[in-house]
């Protein structure tokens, strides 16, 4: 049930595609995992300022392997750098930025996204799972635009884009746009709206791997490729 060879975007291409939709000058928070790769794909002529919730605005690229400092890390606890114009601050100020609506955009991973924009990305709710929420609930509650980057399905082919999340929610109704290995999809008032297909992917393929209705591009061509 995995995507065919040569079909769709790689993790890196998904991140690159998401970066294309971030406006110049945006203040951006990147979640752990594929979202972290977005930082390596700033489109020509644009400048983003990356926020990491553990107290740094102006996060720069990873240091050389083996380099960096243990007290200069990102939210994923990986070593990072700081760009000229960076600022350090404490956790309450950092989440004041988030909760107060000062960040333009965040890019998060997902376990499930519903066609109402509900996001589940912190817990499978399993009896043996150690619940761990971090800053995800704060980010979706406060950041103006929420992007999700995720594989279109789990490894065993189960759709992650669904009518209703079965996992515990991170927040209801918060996701604006989803970047998967197969497509770019908006969450609209009428549910999922296909915005763009990955190379080799078809509407039928995307629809068959999505557990909720999804409108093809032709029904709403004006939206294609726009930034929410």
């Amino acid at each position: 049930m995995t995507a065919h060879e040569g079909v769709g975007w790689s993790r890196d291409e998904m991140a690159e595609r998401a970066a294309m939709d971030i406006p110049d000058g945006a203040y951006v928070n990147l979640g752990i995992g594929i979202p972290e790769l977005v930082a390596t794909h700033v489109p020509e002529g644009r400048e983003f300022i990356y926020h990491t919730e553990n107290g740094l605005l102006g996060m720069g690229p990873s240091p050389e392997p083996g380099g960096g400092e243990p007290e200069l890390i990102n939210a994923g606890k990986k070593r990072v750098t700081a760009v000229p114009g960076a600022a350090y601050f404490h956790h309450a100020d950092s989440f004041a930025m988030i909760r107060g609506g000062h960040l333009d955009l965040c890019v998060l991973g997902a376990l499930q996204v519903s066609h109402d924009g509900d996001l589940a990305n912190w817990s499978t709710g399993g009896p043996d799972a150690i619940p761990a929420v971090g800053g995800a609930m704060d980010l979706v509650a406060g950041v103006k635009t929420v992007f999700v980057i995720t594989q279109h399905t789990t490894k065993d082919g189960t759709p992650k884009l669904v009518e209703a999340c079965t996992y515990p929610l991170t927040s209801p109704g918060v996701v604006d746009r989803i970047f998967t290995n197969l497509a770019v999809i908006d969450v609209t008032d009428e549910g999922f709206q296909l915005v763009q297909l990955a190379p080799g992917a078809s509407y039928e393929m995307v629809a068959s791997k999505t557990d909720a209705p999804i409108k093809p591009m032709s029904e709403n061509p004006a939206r294609e490729g726009t930034t929410p």
Binding site: G25, L57, G58, A82, G85, Y88, F89, M97, G100, H102
Partner: protein
């Protein structure tokens, strides 16, 4: 490239409309963005709600804005100070509205507004006329009053140095309300004594990170309110 610099105070306040809520930094003259206030007077916006700890002194800066009848309503903690005659006269004539807020509650309401906190409980003002009509509630046997976050359409503040990202440092007790007003303003306009390039400020010493700032104007030799008052200057 991110560059928040704007050429003149006039351009920086050119879109402040009638009826706007405007936070203005400063505690007395310390930290008062006097050039931005004078530009706002020139701009002509009326019916403003202004948040400031005081009401200005003499007939310059905030006092001049009030004297020109641009302020419909003041939210402040201490509307009378030395050389403050403009506000008292209008207030006694019912020509300006006053919401009196304890200073710490004012600061916390502004921070809350900027931090996405719609309301909080505080012990300050319980048992006094200033908490009358407000919701009270006990926590751990002590009585508190519910207060609401404050936000503004525009915040006008003064900094010592800004970089092109809007990262700010301040001068001594001129810092006062500026950092929290920067958080609470949907558009925060800064006048800085100096504007430098990104990276020129120590990232450990930045007080207000640039995310809270939208516009920066360099005003290299700002007027000092007390000097103008001593000289009997009246603006405009």
């Amino acid at each position: 490239m991110i560059d928040k610099r704007i050429g003149t105070p006039a351009e920086a306040v050119a879109d402040i409309p009638d009826g706007a809520t405007v936070m203005i930094g400063g505690f007395g003259e310390a930290g008062s963005p006097i050039e931005l206030i004078h530009a706002l007077i020139d701009r002509g916006a009326r019916d403003l709600t202004v948040v400031n700890n005081n009401t200005g002194s003499g007939e310059v800066g905030l006092a001049a804005l009030i004297k020109e009848r641009r302020v419909a309503r003041m939210i402040c903690s201490y509307p009378r100070t030395a050389n403050s005659t403009v506000f008292p006269e209008l207030y006694r004539n019912d020509e300006i509205e006053l919401e009196l807020v304890p200073q710490g509650t004012l600061a916390e309401r502004i921070r809350a507004g900027g931090a996405g906190i719609p309301a909080f409980y505080t012990p300050t003002s319980v048992g006094t006329p200033l908490s009358e009509g407000k919701e009270h509630r006990r926590f751990d046997g002590r009585e508190y009053v519910l207060e609401h976050g404050l936000t503004a359409d525009f915040s006008l503040i003064k900094a010592k140095v800004s970089d092109r990202h809007g990262n700010l440092i301040f001068n001594k007790t001129a810092r006062n309300f500026a950092p929290v007003m920067a958080m609470a303003g949907r558009t925060t306009v800064v006048q800085a004594d100096a504007v430098v390039d990104a990276g020129d400020l120590d990232p450990e010493c930045i007080v207000t990170p640039g995310i809270f700032v939208q516009r920066v104007v360099e005003v290299t030799e700002p007027l000092q309110e007390s000097e103008l008052v001593a000289q009997g200057v009246s603006y405009p």
